[in-house]
Amino acid sequence: MQQTRPTQQESALTVPAIPYGSHEVRLSGRQWLAAAALILCVLVFAPVAWERIEEFEPGADYRMPYGLSSDYWLFDRYCRFAASRCDTLVLGDSVIWGQYVRPDQTLTHHLNDLAGRSRFANMGVDGLHPAALAGLIDYYGRAISGKNVLLHCNVLWMSSTRHDLQTDKEFHFNHPRLVPQFVPRIPCYRESYADRLGILVERTVPFFAWANHLRLVYFDRKSVPAWTLEHPYGNPAKGIGRGLPAPEGSARQEPFPWTDRGVARQSFPWVPLDASFQWRSFRRALAMLRGRGSRVFVLVGPFNEHMLEQESLQTYAARKAEIAAWLREQQVAHYVPPALPSQYCADASHPLDEGYAMLAAQLFECDSFIEFLDRASTQ
């Protein structure tokens, strides 16, 4: 506590003599320009330079590591790689990724087998519902432009208001960083405005997506400070040097048919198509791909119809028909596969190896798909 009364300042003094600060970090205009230029260089070139440091050579049947499903910087990088090597990119959720199968049992693998060469790239991302798919294409999938895309439409995302993100009650859904942050409003999404704005910035500045990549890959999904708390004497720089994790060679979940899991028949409260947010998002994704010069083939399903109660099955059939009609109307090549045998289904929407093989064979018997492939190979 100071002991004496301060000298009274002149009341007319408009700019009092107040010390600047207690440090020397005080840049002039020119110095700020220099600092800004250096910071900009780091922001722009660090992710680019990193691609030269971090080895990434996806082999046949590569799929994004499951734990890196929200690593959109890696997805963007994989997109560029795949777009330069394969003529058709297969986009979708874990059905495309292959939740219950090994990398060499996925739909992409079987399609490549039937094609006789690596034409298809598995761009599946776990939990990628249509709203997130649209965001992924929009912000991290620019390399897809002009490529041929086999786009998977999983009707499961329209099977309830919860899947359709239309519930008022907040819940944590997959890929919130990819969905529209402000418009249209998603009622169950309650992120703070500050974080939503941060997400918009992350989408615009690749550096932030790259920084997130570092966190996901090298720091156990944590920020560096949080990581050092668990590794107090660890060297964060040392961790970075160890490279990307090897792709998983095994299935994410045990490959049993759904009947062996003790799953009962379900009655889904399907959302009407014209009211479905996910369906609107899917259409947006499709329009974006076509708008960017991609030729798109839509695969509607598969879906485990054996798992549905009679009434639900009828509604599903109606939805399927509506989707097919809309795709026809929009002149989008598509295929709506018949139900796979029950024993080939692992759950409501994921096939097992045999299911994927059958689906691939069906696609190769579909004229519009062959035509789609023929055009792809001539490009």
Binding site: M1, Q2, Q3, R5, P6, Q8, Q9, S11, A12, L13, T14, V15, P16, I18, P19, Y20, G21, S22, H23, E24, V25, R26, L27, S28, G29, Q31, W32, A34, A35, L38, I39, V42, L43, A46, S192, Y193, A194, D195, L197, G198, L200, V201, F207, F208, A211, L214, K222, S223, V224, P225, A226, T228, L229, P232, Y233, P236
Partner: protein, 458 residues
């Protein structure tokens, strides 16, 4: 709205250009007031009633002081009103809890209901600022502010609204009256202050806070080294947090053409407790000096009276920080420290013979010890922590080396800043490099979560 969020960036990107456009017009103050109310109402629009009420009461009290003969009465009513509000919102639960404990001690079954009111962010800051205007007017140190809008802007000016600095009317009101002269240097200085504050808050305070929270949430589970390091870390966390806020506030204000006072001046380089309080939360310590300590008699009535006044002021200052006995003890500890060292600090031996570095370490050690009571969740926890520091055995504290390195780097920077080596820090390449490193660290390595400022709760 927090400075270190994108919401604030967007807010400022809207407010600032309009401020630049309007600064020479009559709309300057209405715009600033509107922006300040949006900034404050972002937490809870109901808070706006409180700040508007505080503003009106102090404004009207000064008018009544000018127009009527009962100057003392209006001053008293205004102060009672301000302290009453503060007491109700901030100390209601504390008073009720203590009264209930007392009633239980007396064997009565009567139980007072908890007030159950929300605590308005920054109430202590704007209340004190408004009070200082009224008191200064009463003392004849300032003239009455005629414009209600200007006075409301003085109370609510958004850069310093929720955590200070607690500005005096004689500093800020003249700046609000004048047309802000915003030179290029103001913008670059403002940016420089802001990035330093941002780094202190996001990269340092929030980082240290992770370790501090872990240890202080369960002190019984940690050994002496962990408790010592957590207390050391908290000392720096609260400094980085609060001074970071102040730096950002001063930076934003500077960009807008307003100069706010220096609130922190490297307090952990203090060579005595008196020196510490001239460097730590300067706007509050000078507020207590001018409005509590000096009115009590200051140092004018002999040594004993001086010590009593000093103790009272420190204890009240402790209570200002929070409605809990731990804060009172924290204030009392500082009071005791001041009483015991005041004579020593003035002695020739201490001034000339004790090495400066030893004095700095001693002060730092004492201040850090006192933080135990400030941070602990209860008096029982504080006692447990002190006991375990003295008695619990050694175990690996698992304190992140990176955090320690960052703190020591800042401390070294401050030592150099206050030494002959300061000119090295002033070299342009060093300054630019520091800014670039801070910006890149912030962008690449900090977490995504947003932590509020510690001092908002006061």
């Amino acid at each position: 709205m927090l400075f270190h969020t994108w919401t604030f960036v967007l807010f400022f990107l809207i407010v600032y250009p309009v401020h630049l456009a309007l600064k020479r017009t009559r709309l300057k103050l209405p715009w600033l007031l509107l922006a300040s109310y949006v900034f404050y109402g972002w937490w809870n629009p109901l808070y706006l009633f409180l700040i508007a009420y505080t503003t009106l009461v102090n404004y009207v009290a000064v008018i009544l002081m000018e127009k009527t003969s009962g100057r003392k009465l209006w001053l008293a009513l205004s102060i009672i009103n301000s302290l009453g509000l503060l007491g109700f919102f901030k100390y209601g639960a504390f008073v009720t809890d203590n009264l209930n404990a007392l009633l239980a001690l007396l064997g009565t079954s009567y139980h007072l209901p908890a007030p159950g009111v929300i605590f308005p962010v920054g109430i202590s800051f704007f209340t004190f600022q408004a009070m200082s205007y009224t008191i200064d007017y009463y003392r004849g140190q300032i003239e009455r502010e005629r414009s209600l809008i200007r006075f409301a802007t003085f109370v609510a000016l958004f850069p310093r609204l929720v955590a200070g600095p607690i500005e005096r009317a004689k500093n800020l009101l003249p700046q609000l009256r004048a047309t802000p002269g915003i030179a290029r240097q103001d913008v670059t200085d403002g940016l420089s202050l802001f990035i330093v504050g941002l780094f202190k808050k996001v990269a340092l305070a929030d980082y240290l806070g992770i370790y501090v929270d872990k240890v202080y949430d369960a002190p019984g589970e940690f050994s002496a080294p962990a408790l010592v390091l957590a207390t050391f870390a908290f000392g720096w966390q609260i400094y980085f947090d609060f001074s970071g806020y102040t730096d950002m506030a001063r930076g934003v204000a500077r960009m807008m053409g307003f100069r706010l006072m220096l609130n922190f001046n490297n307090p952990y380089l203090a060579t005595g407790l008196g020196d510490f309080w001239r460097r730590w939360h300067v706007s509050l310590s000078t507020w207590f000096r001018d409005y509590v300590y000096i009115p009590l008699g200051g140092n004018r009535r002999g040594r004993f009276s001086t010590y009593v006044n000093m103790c009272l002021t420190m204890v009240i200052s402790g209570l200002w920080h929070g409605a809990a006995w731990t804060f009172v003890i924290w204030g009392a500890l500082h009071a005791l420290g001041r009483v015991l060292t005041r004579g020593l600090e003035r002695s020739a031996f201490y001034k000339e013979r004790v090495p400066k570095f030893a004095k700095q370490l001693l002060v730092f050690a004492f201040v850090t010890f006192a933080w135990v009571f400030f941070r602990a969740r209860s008096f029982g926890d504080a006692r447990l922590i002190v006991t375990r520091i003295l008695t619990a055995g050694w175990a690996d504290p698992a304190f992140p080396l990176l955090a320690l390195g960052l703190v020591l780097a800042v401390w070294c920077y401050q030592f150099v800043y206050e030494s002959a080596g300061r000119r090295v820090l002033a070299l342009a390449p060093v300054r630019v490099a520091v800014v670039v490193l801070m910006a890149v660290y912030l962008a690449a390595f900090t977490g995504t979560g947003v932590q509020a400022f510690i001092y908002f709760q006061f």
